[in-house]
Subunit: 205 residues, 2 copies
């Protein structure tokens, strides 16, 4: 297997030449496959085959299917397992703050460009919305809720949190309402974190 | 002037025939003009001229420029002056609840179709985002804040409220995360109204 992949990737790993082309082909194949088959239906093997890449490289480059999905569809440069770990690393009563800081950190890094691209895909392709739903609620927020031992209506809480996370993204990066677009991270965290905290662990009735 | 408009509108006003075609032409002209010139730059006269309609009909049909904008761009069937009045009709400590109820009422009425269409325009045309910003923050939320005597950072509060209103729309109507998509209005109001209330009148630090 390794010999095969050596042909598509130069010995020195980096951001140049063949390696980047192969990664790009893999990301394109992943986007198509996830949209066609959904998150559960898409296999790493089928995506790799479509791109003409060894399946082992998906794990090597993206940390598996979840990481590939994050990069290809969500367009975030971090795999969800690592993100969930990071969100859970701290007191449960500060989960709202960690969520806002981490999402702002990831999206601000590209000036909101990746978030805006995600919203464009979501609004124009029903299937992307479906895949995003499956992934964002079940693979991300539900895990976070399990991690902080919330068992009261976790689905409703997860979708409420999603509404404020996406809404923050829409206003900061897409419609760009000032002063929220230029506000520093601490200002946004102070305002928005208590909302996420309440949706996930507080009183929602 | 009135004789002129009689030619484009049949004597019996209604939802049929020439009147509807003329209205549709006016809405199309309004969308184009608002996108080209912005909310402030677009005049009722220029929109009416583009559609070949008497400017007086804009007031007659849509209650003026704001109502025309609401119908053509925001795709809500209510003019903003009336909406602001409705939002302000009651105790200030329940403004969050009235906002959530009114937006859900308007958007649920088309199964979220109009909200989804608005998001599609916003994500694909920068100018629509700009026009929406100008309008939503300045002509709608700022007026609401003035109505409840909030003078502490009204712009930031307005944009925070907008983030939760749009986020609720995105999750309920665009990505359609369950159970938020099918949740009854009271469930959503109980969960989301305190967020809007805090953003507008509460502690955001």
């Amino acid at each position: 297997m390794d010999e095969g992949t050596q042909q598509t990737e130069p010995k020195r790993r980096g951001r140049r030449s063949g390696g980047e082309d192969t990664k790009a082909a893999l990301l394109a194949a992943a986007r198509e496959t996830f949209v066609e088959r959904g998150y559960e239906g898409a296999t790493v093997r089928s995506i790799a085959a479509r791109a003409g890449v060894d399946a082992a490289m998906v794990n090597h480059w993206f940390g598996g299917k979840e990481g590939l999905f994050a990069k290809a569809v969500l367009q975030v440069p971090i795999d969800p397992i690592t993100l969930v770990e990071r969100l859970l690393a701290g007191p449960p009563e500060e989960i709202g703050e960690r969520i806002v800081r981490n999402f702002l950190g990831v999206w601000d890094a590209t000036g909101g460009g990746h978030f805006a691209a995600l919203m464009r895909s979501v609004t124009s392709h029903d299937r992307v919305a479906e895949v995003l739903r499956e992934f964002f609620v079940h693979h991300l927020l539900r895990r976070v809720l399990a991690g902080v031992d919330v068992t009261d209506r976790p689905e409703l809480r997860a979708t409420l949190a999603a509404s404020q996370i996406f809404g923050m993204g829409v206003v900061r990066y897409v419609v760009r309402f000032e002063p929220l677009t230029s506000a520093d991270v601490d200002t946004v965290v102070k305002a928005v974190a208590p909302t996420i905290q309440r949706y996930l662990t507080g009183d929602i009735d």
